[in-house]
């Protein structure tokens, strides 16, 4: 128990955090999105000339964060850029449009929660798309990050929601990546490994979801192999069975000449464009979020906290665990398929224990048992990995140190045990509209 500080700040001298965020209390998500949209529009129109004005050679790619380390002298310029191009329109719109946006949000909600959520999502995608469009590097980082979100969340299902320690996620990812690659390479591409294309190439992007699902199912099948022996008893056996599985998958792929062996598979068609990756990630997050909030998901939590009690409450523990495990593996497989078509090259070495360490880091950094946490973990570690590039070697001292500190001060991660409720997110924020709610 941490003691609660008995000193309450005197009125008028409230904490800085409150003073900053108070004016935005009534700003709904819609207004924020409009603000971001305006910022992105501004960047498209004025970005380059403004960047030149403040002394930058190019539009700062990741909010100017990369410049701090590589060219610190230019940093004030980058800061000014971020302030003027991003923060200024964002804050202005968030403050000025709060009222009309609330009305609009309420109107949207009356059309049905699904409509409202989809509208917000579409708006969010539009902002992301135009932001990423400025530079191919930005777009690539966004795509990698989205795939990482999918992977992190699916691993969180097992390690966080179910409370087991699974090491086989890179293996599932590999199965999905290879499955989807075989699908698209054999059907739509003239490839030295698989011969002539069987179907006309224009069908490719339309049938690509089938390949992804196929890859995901392959991964789920692999998960079944692990799940049957390891959920007989409770304990750490999943940890090593899944680790052994990882070694087996890697060795298997190295020994299959028709998928290229250690040389890997290349030249997958470029199907994983930003909208495709975004759509799959959004769908994955939505489905997984629904899953963890369903009875099945809640029984997973029950099993984690006390298996015997859960059993007594008529939870079929073995069945529940196996379903969850295969479900998580499916999404890891889908993420693997997207990854393969984005990288357009995969080899077995990509899916080794180092990737495992990376994924585990994202899950535990963001927070266990939490959809928000997974998103935060994946996004922040991916961005950090890019931003800290100029550090070279020391990047790999800085990131682990940061993680250790997070673990020590927040042992379950930054945002653990948070529910993700899309409808609440898109609600209007003004008090008078919520009708008497405190």
């Amino acid at each position: 128990m941490r003691a609660i500080s008995p000193i309450t700040p005197p009125a008028g001298k409230r904490p800085l955090r409150c003073r900053i965020f108070d004016p935005f209390r009534e700003t709904p998500l819609l207004a924020w999105l409009f603000g971001a949209g305006l910022a992105v529009l501004l960047e498209h129109l004025l970005g380059e000339s403004f960047a030149a004005l403040v002394g930058l050679a190019k539009v700062p790619v990741l909010f100017g964060l990369m410049i701090i380390l590589s060219k610190p002298l230019l940093f004030p310029g980058a800061l000014l850029y971020v302030a003027v191009i991003y923060l200024l329109p964002l804050v202005t719109v968030a403050l000025l449009l709060a009222r009309p946006a609330n009305t609009a949000a309420a109107a949207l909600l009356r059309l049905g929660p699904a409509v409202s959520v989809l509208f917000h999502l579409a708006l969010f995608y539009a902002v992301l798309h135009f932001w990423a469009e400025i530079s191919g590097y930005r777009e690539m980082t966004v795509k990698f990050t989205l795939i990482a979100v999918l992977l992190t969340l699916s691993l969180n299902l097992i390690n966080g929601y179910m409370g087991e320690f699974s090491c086989s996620h890179p293996g599932f990812m590999a199965l999905g990546a290879y499955g989807a690659s075989i699908f698209s390479l054999s059907l739509f591409v003239n490839d030295p490994l698989f011969g002539k294309a069987l179907l006309p190439a224009f069908l490719g992007p339309w049938l690509f979801p089938l390949g992804l699902v196929g890859g995901g199912l392959l991964a789920a099948l692999g998960a079944l192999l692990i799940a049957i022996p390891s959920f007989k008893t409770r304990g750490d056996y999943l940890a090593i069975i899944s680790l052994a599985f990882l070694f087996i998958v890697k060795s298997l792929l190295e020994n299959l000449p028709f998928v290229g062996g250690p040389r890997g598979m290349g030249s997958q068609p470029d199907y994983a464009s930003l909208p495709v990756v975004f759509a799959w990630t959004a769908m994955g997050v939505w489905i997984m979020n629904n899953y963890v909030r369903s009875t099945l998901g809640r029984s997973l939590n029950a099993i984690r906290d006390d298996e015997a009690a859960a059993e007594a409450m008529s939870v079929n523990t073995r069945h529940t665990k196996m379903t969850a495990f295969m479900f998580a593996a499916f999404w890891a497989g889908v993420a693997g398929g997207l990854f393969a078509h984005m990288m357009r090259f995969i080899n077995p070495a990509t899916f080794g224990v180092q990737r495992l360490a990376e994924m585990l880091a994202m899950v535990y950094f963001g927070g266990l048992n939490s959809v928000y946490g997974s998103i935060v973990g994946a996004v922040s570690l991916n961005l950090l990995g890019e931003v800290l590039r100029p550090l070279e070697l020391f990047k790999w001292i800085f990131i682990p140190l940061l993680l250790i500190l997070v673990m020590i001060f927040r042992p379950t991660g930054l945002l653990a045990f948070r529910d993700f409720d899309a409808v609440r997110l898109v609600q209007p924020r003004s008090r008078d509209r919520q009708g008497g709610a405190p």
Partner: protein, 390 residues
């Protein structure tokens, strides 16, 4: 005390106003170096980086690269690819788009060069991988070149050499199944050897996995197979484990290697056990003359050890890049056009005199160059034995 925030603010504003002054004025040529500084094989990254820095020092001393009568200063952009495909793709994209490099040198290993080559080609940026032996790196990619010979050339060279030198009939191969370089070369060798000596003449085709250190089981099998010679296309640090272990298990027949043996560290790590062995490579350090000697001496003086093949190949690749830039005749300042011009100039290079041999690029962007068979002398030097040309 209360003034501190205002002072900070003032400093920040001053910085913002001054920051255009920190602009780098004037045009310069940016060359990207995509190297594994961290990750599984940091030594490769170090060799690449050192060779690149040496090259940069030379170019800077000369006042930059001369194109069409004016000299352009050169800037290196070095990015770490962590020896991972994904990271290589990220680094490549970043350098091409954000840093606006003219040419990229690297990545070295095929597992990174293949995906990075795809990115470079799609952004129409010339790339030269000094060390990647996988045919897919350059295949159907007009903008991608390489600086070394391919497995289908080196495999038969070694097979013919063994046949001629030792007259052996049965050979054994020991290779890393998880490394594409070793596996590719092992298979090419097997094909060539069976072409010479008939099917079944590869008595043992044994493998292990990257980072393995114990080869006793495989070597015992090889010893029992009746093979007369071992071919092991492994990285020198593994050779330094394989050879002594083979000797300890009583193997006294020859062991032959490939260009990945070519590091002075081999002798440091392996010691007398490796004396008297042969391997195929790009150049022989001992008894080298002319520019090769000069490069080796300078590298050794600067970094304290004889350069590996990675460093030598990177050096050559950078000099090819330099030659290509010079031959464009004019830089327009528009990066897209300049990249295309450099690419065309590079494809036109004929008989380039590199320290690792003469190079001419084929249609695919692969150099046709000679291989050298090197004998490790009893002093631990790499002595020229013979040369094989395509």
């Amino acid at each position: 005390m209360r003034k501190i925030p205002y002072l900070l603010l003032a400093a920040l504003v001053a910085g913002m106003i001054c920051s255009p002054l920190a602009w780098s004025k004037g045009k310069s040529i940016k060359i990207g170096i995509n190297a594994p500084i961290t990750g599984d094989n940091p030594k490769v990254g170090e060799g690449t980086k050192f060779a690149a820095e040496m090259w940069l020092a030379d170019v800077t001393a000369a006042g930059g690269i001369e194109v069409g009568g004016s000299r352009y200063p050169v800037q290196l952009v070095i990015e770490d690819n962590e020896y991972k495909p994904e990271s290589a793709v990220k680094a490549t994209t970043k350098m091409i788009i954000e840093d606006e490099i003219l040419v990229m040198v690297g990545p070295q290993a095929s597992s990174q060069a293949v995906p990075a080559g795809g990115v470079a080609d799609s952004y129409a940026t010339p790339m030269i991988s000094p060390w990647s032996t996988n045919p897919n790196t350059t295949k159907d990619r007009p903008y991608v070149f390489r600086g070394c010979f391919l497995d289908p050339f080196q495999g038969p060279v070694v097979a013919n050499f063994i046949k001629g030198e030792f007259g052996a009939v049965k050979a054994a191969v020991l290779y890393d199944v998880a490394a594409d370089y070793s596996k590719g070369l092992a298979e090419e060798f097997k094909k060539a050897w069976e072409g010479i000596n008939g099917p079944g003449s590869v008595a043992a085709f044994e493998s292990f996995t990257t980072k393995d250190t114990d080869f006793s089981s495989q070597l015992t099998k090889i010893k029992n197979s009746g093979a007369e010679v071992i071919f092991t296309p492994q990285y020198y640090s593994e050779v330094a484990l394989i050879v002594p272990q083979a000797r300890e298990l009583g193997w006294d027949k020859p062991i032959v290697g490939s260009d990945s043996w070519g590091s002075a560290d081999l002798i440091k790590l392996c010691g007398p056990a490796c004396f008297g062995l042969y391997f195929s490579t790009h150049y022989a350090a001992a008894g080298a003359a002319g520019p090769t000697r000069e490069f080796i001496d300078r590298y050794q003086a600067k970094y304290g050890y004889v350069p590996d093949d990675v460093a030598a190949l990177t050096w050559d690749s950078l000099r090819i890049v330099q030659a290509a830039i010079e031959q464009t005749g004019k830089l327009s300042g528009k990066i897209e056009n300049d990249r295309a011009a450099v690419r065309d100039a590079m494809a036109k290079i004929r008989e380039f005199e590199g320290i690792t041999g003469k190079m001419t690029f084929t249609e695919e962007g692969d150099p046709s160059k000679c291989a050298v068979i090197v004998r490790i002398t009893d002093q631990g030097e790499f002595a020229f034995h013979k040369s094989v040309c395509p």
